[in-house]
Point group: C2
Chain length 431, copies 2
């Protein structure tokens, strides 16, 4: 039986037209983050299980990792996220590195999930982190940067909104304000994370189940439901407003406002899945109703570098998946029409491959990307091939053209033809 | 106990200075192969075991793959090489694709090996393939391209040599000329592959072991040893010279000579490990005695696309590892001095982060990569940080500078300082 031509389930093959789009997106991302002084790093796709076991979300580690034993019995994981790896790198050179440290990466990540729109088993993710800044100017920079990346792709502010919350505030609300113990608070946190995916009655039932009689009698469900309706910091109960976490969120929103960013707001329902967040968390949503989902998310995680035996480093970072970004661009008609990198398809009218390579080399030495058809087929078939590949220009060369050093350049899109010398070709393509 | 900061054995972390070198190498490779009309594709790092089981070298599949079962019991492999995957892609769109098809990729590959110089468990590899050309003009193009890539890195012809053989010729020599059955021929082929790693007596002993009495009596060992001494096609026995495979090698060498490439030669001992080769094979060696090893290799494999149920497609390709390439560049002093992408480190003399971001934004909007020190530390510490990061230019901004809109630009390398406006800065950095 022949082998299957399909890629592994939930992963993508990138034919050249797909790869071209991916490269366009990655190049824009690189440009945008390097503009803010971020430098690229990378790590191996395999990591020891331990680095994910302690602080990544339990659901991901237990149910969604590609976990196996290598030939020496080491438990290894194909990385499901990048944050533990980058923390490992920083911890490894804690003393030699200079702060604020600005790093980014675009790794591929693997999660064993049921493939669905916007979620695949293999995806790439822009990871941006700033290390060594304890106050909210780090969070502000992250959001300025996110905003700037959207601009890079020609997105308008009404196409996305930035939602901000604080893990500290959430902990305070659940544990202090509502008086839940840590375990229950955790459970309720996970439940709020699913709020927008559940029917309201289902949410209320699950909330009820998670609480005990005493908590129900104390009105915890009603209090929580009321809190979840809060749309601005000013509507929070006075004792909550007095919390430092609220001042942090306020300060970020004010700074963003001064920088002209008005599509950011407080969202009390925003949880983020990972266990390692310690302060402000944020997500950016597509405002298009057809794709009203989180595109990227991040927050402050001050404790992760410390797990690797180094002194703790205050850190803020975010991750932005390529699938959600590509969906966003497509839905908002921001995907450009990308042409093949090949500028000239040289077709040979009776000339041997050697002569073709020589002509092509004259063009290549001037930086013109030139493919030669060395198949020896009929001229018509060669031109058809170039058209099928989406190449715009075909250059025809035969004995006469070679003798006169003038070649026939045909534009396959508009049908125009011109006789040009190599010098004229170079001028045309390099100007 | 704290978690280890080391990467997984045999794999590399890329701190920004390492990543910068990798990006330099990959960008040069991309430029060079796109100049020949090759287009980039990619595939998932996980593939079903089957696609490697049939034609990849048995040693690699049995002993060196990262093989495991996914959560649904599928046997999957982290790709040890790219050739089966690219064949899968071509087979999947055999009819829609236009030939000659020129494709390349720079995937990361995994092999469970004992890490040593030039060999790691994770490495990247430039893979270049041309599909749809049955004659040796395809092999010639591959070697023109390889030569051109070396030029891209400023390598001189005396730094490397190109060695050419033919799998067809090897098969003819072992099976017809020496009269061995396929199994013995295979074994002897693997032994010749190790020729340069074994002592001569060890090689002779192993050869002796692999043959039976009749073969020994017929003088097979002596005949083979004599063949392995042959340095040119003309020194081959007359009946061997009459083979089409010899004419193929001759034709490639002649074409390369015409194109001015004189560091290519016939090498009867060249085997290549993979089972899928069907014609010419080649490798390129570093001529430096300290690194006298194969840097890249490839050949013709006409049968692989056909395994995926599609009509067979004649194919020639090669793979070039990043570790051997980086070693080559270093040894020949061809590694450039690469600077940080960050052009300006903006340090703040008492200004708040917000004001710093605003100044930086004026520069960023003109395309100047600008990092702001938002740590709030003393000026001296901020400048030290910039120097530690290897940044060349520091721009100082305080209340006075902000008011006068003239900033102090300090070159940390030569110590020069200048007072410049944003307009003057843009002129300086963008000219």
């Amino acid at each position: 039986m022949p082998l299957s031509t399909k890629p592994y389930k939930g992963a993508r093959d990138f034919y050249p037209e797909d790869k071209r789009l991916q490269k366009y997106i990655f190049n824009r991302l690189r440009q945008a983050v390097e503009l803010y002084g971020y430098e690229e790093y990378d790590t191996p796709i395999l990591e020891p299980l331990e680095i994910f076991a302690s602080k990544t979300c339990e659901e991901i580690v237990k149910e969604q990792t590609y976990l196996f034993e290598d030939r020496a019995g080491r438990k290894v994981v194909i990385r499901p996220e990048m944050t533990p790896s980058v923390s490992r790198l920083v911890a490894g050179r804690r003393q030699e590195l200079a702060y604020p440290l600005r790093w980014y990466s675009i790794p591929n990540l693997w999660r064993y999930e049921r493939p669905q729109k916007g979620r695949l088993r293999e995806h790439w993710q822009l990871n941006v982190d700033i290390f060594g800044v304890a106050d909210t100017s780090a969070e502000v920079e992250m959001m300025l940067l996110v905003n700037s990346i959207f601009q890079t792709f020609n997105a308008k502010p009404d196409m996305f909104d930035i939602r901000i919350n604080s893990r500290q505030l959430t902990n305070y609300l659940l544990e202090d304000y509502l008086g839940l113990n840590q375990k229950t608070a955790n459970m309720i946190g996970k439940l709020i994370d699913k709020l927008h995916k559940l029917e309201r009655t289902e949410f209320i039932n699950k909330l009820d189940e998670a609480l005990n009689d005493k908590q129900r009698a104390a009105g915890v469900p009603e209090k929580l439901l009321a809190l979840l309706e809060v749309k601005s910091l000013k509507s929070l109960p006075a004792e909550v407003q007095a919390q430092a976490a609220v001042a942090d969120i306020e300060s970020v929103l004010v700074s963003l406002g001064k920088a002209g960013i008005s599509n950011a707001r407080f969202d009390i329902t925003l949880m983020r899945g990972f266990d390692y967040y310690t302060g402000i968390v944020f997500e950016v949503y597509d405002t298009n109703p057809e794709n009203n989902r989180s595109m990227l998310g991040g927050g402050r995680y001050d404790g992760l570098v410390g797990l690797f035996g180094a002194e703790a480093v205050p850190t803020v970072g975010f991750g932005w998946g390529d699938v959600t970004l590509a969906n966003f661009l497509e839905l908002h008609h921001l995907t450009p029409d990308l042409k093949s990198e090949t500028e000239i398809s040289l077709v040979l009218a009776g000339l041997p491959a050697e002569a073709g390579q020589q002509i092509a080399d004259n063009l290549r030495s001037q930086g013109i990307n030139t493919a030669v058809d060395i198949s020896g087929r009929k001229l018509g078939d060669q031109i058809k091939s170039a058209a099928k590949k989406g190449h715009t220009y075909v250059l025809v060369a035969g004995e006469d053209e070679l003798k006169n050093q003038r070649f026939n350049l045909k534009n396959l899109v508009d049908g125009q033809e011109k006789q040009l010398s190599v010098g004229e070709l170079v001028k045309k393509f390099r100007s």
